[in-house]
């Protein structure tokens, strides 16, 4: 059941993170929405196989491994899923990594107290990258955009549009690959942790191949089925994006993520991509919808504590009922919650056909379109 829940988390992760990777390509029309998502899924898988250094960090550096029980992992996943799906409903790209880590930390606090959480790991691996990653991405994307527009200032529009579109296919591919090497590995790390807790595999074992494949597949499905809400916010919500900007933004995201992967620093693809898109807007001195960015940034800050709260609550409830009954009850509550949010989301569905519609510039709370599904 933990594995199923883990995959469910990856499914919601697909709503958020892999969606980011292709958002700008879809917005600029460089890739057809469905093609983009399919490509992203495949490259995520490739990326995950290429590097597992981040998965190892997550599995070992955040909580005390010997205190991890299946119940903790389960409650942590529940916290992560609940938060992911809530932010998804609001169309806010939030970091699934923070949601997951928050959920696990919250559950761990209730289970074994503060000493079982490696706080220096949380600070070094979560908080510091969370502050710097978006800023770096913003700076790099802004510079890239300035250069791209300066250099091609006198070039013909036709060739500009065409070349940067082709370039964007490549850069989007890079972001997906980079995501696979970094962010996608967090769930794999957590599932590895669960398998170790369950004594299915030895504590020293590396992540099994089937975990990698299943994670990547469920993430791809998640993007395909539900990522459109996030793609819309990132691709159309923040700025009206042109192909050179999309290219610069994606190049920046890919570079920041790959550089961090090299140092084994897990960061949030979501935050990097968000920063890059804003940077691309700033680089062209273009109006950025700061209100949306502010809401995004706020979401980023509350993600970890909020997921921790849900994770802690879930563990508390699960423990209170006790045994497998507790697990089953939590599972049902979680499923019911997801079903409710899905139900609500149908009222303002975003799908491949309307993902690129004009952004309504009114003060609507949810970035949704009026097309009913």
């Amino acid at each position: 059941m933990v594995v199923v829940t883990g995959l469910a988390f990856d499914f919601t992760n697909g709503f958020h993170d892999s969606a980011n990777a292709v958002a700008t390509s879809i917005a600029t029309g460089a890739l057809k929405p469905r093609v983009a998502v399919a490509m992203s899924s495949v490259l995520n898988l490739v990326g995950a196989f290429l590097s597992l250094s981040v998965a190892a960090t997550i599995a070992s550096g955040i909580v005390n491994q010997s205190s991890v029980t299946l119940a903790v992992v389960f409650a942590g996943l529940a916290g992560g899923i609940a938060w992911n799906i809530t932010t998804w409903y609001l169309g806010m790209p939030s970091s699934s990594s923070h949601a997951l880590i928050g959920g696990v930390v919250g559950a761990m606090l209730v289970h074994a107290g503060g000493s079982a959480v490696i706080w220096s790991g949380v600070a070094g691996k979560v908080f510091i990258p969370a502050i710097f990653a978006p800023l770096f991405a913003l700076a790099v994307a802004a510079l890239g955009t300035v250069l791209a527009y300066r250099i091609t200032h006198r070039s013909s529009d036709v060739i500009k549009k065409r070349s940067f579109r082709v370039g964007q296919i490549g850069s989007a591919a890079m972001v997906s690959l980079a995501h696979g090497t970094n962010d996608a590995q967090k769930t794999m790390g957590i599932l590895t942790l669960a398998l170790i807790a369950n004594k299915t595999i030895a504590p020293t074992a590396s992540t099994p191949d089937w975990v990698i494949v299943l994670c990547a597949v469920s993430m791809g499905l998640g993007t395909y089925l539900g990522g459109w809400r996030i793609i819309r916010t990132l691709g159309r919500g923040l700025i009206e994006i042109e192909t050179p900007q999309g290219f610069a933004a994606e190049a920046s995201s890919a570079a920041v993520i790959l550089a961090s992967t090299h140092f084994g620093i897990p960061l949030s693809t979501t935050q990097v991509c968000g920063g890059s898109v804003v940077g691309a807007g700033v680089g062209r001195r273009q109006p950025v919808r700061w209100s949306i960015f502010r809401r995004m940034a706020f979401t980023w800050f509350v993600t970890l504590p909020a997921a921790a709260l849900v994770g802690a609550g879930a563990f508390y409830g699960q423990n209170g009922i006790g045994g497998s009954a507790g697990v089953v009850v939590l599972f049902i509550v979680l499923a019911a919650f997801c079903a409710t949010v899905f139900g609500l989301s149908r009222r303002s569905a975003v799908n491949p056909d309307n993902v690129n519609d004009e952004w309504p510039d009114k003060k609507s709370e949810t970035p949704a379109v009026s097309v009913a599904a």
């Binding site: 250069l147 190049a251 790959l258 090299h262 084994g264």
Partner: protein, 92 residues
Amino acid sequence: VPKEEVVMIATDVSQYIDVSALVKILLIALVAGAGLTAVFSIGVAGLSRGGFGTAAGRGGAGRNPAPVVMAGVCFLVVLAGIGYGISVALTK
């Protein structure tokens, strides 16, 4: 080559975060992200000056080979940079 130097120093830092790691990430990201974008743009500008995408350049007449060759070199540099970047990023 400064980029290589940066990467060489960078391999020493792992697992924990310190300021120097962050600075290196920023430098690498600037070189790879913004730098390659610039090179790609030079390539695009080259294509444009070579007559691609203009009425005069259609069908081969009015095309100027030199900028097009330069553009080709630029695109190759970008590809090489990506390949190098991936291989460096994934080796620890």
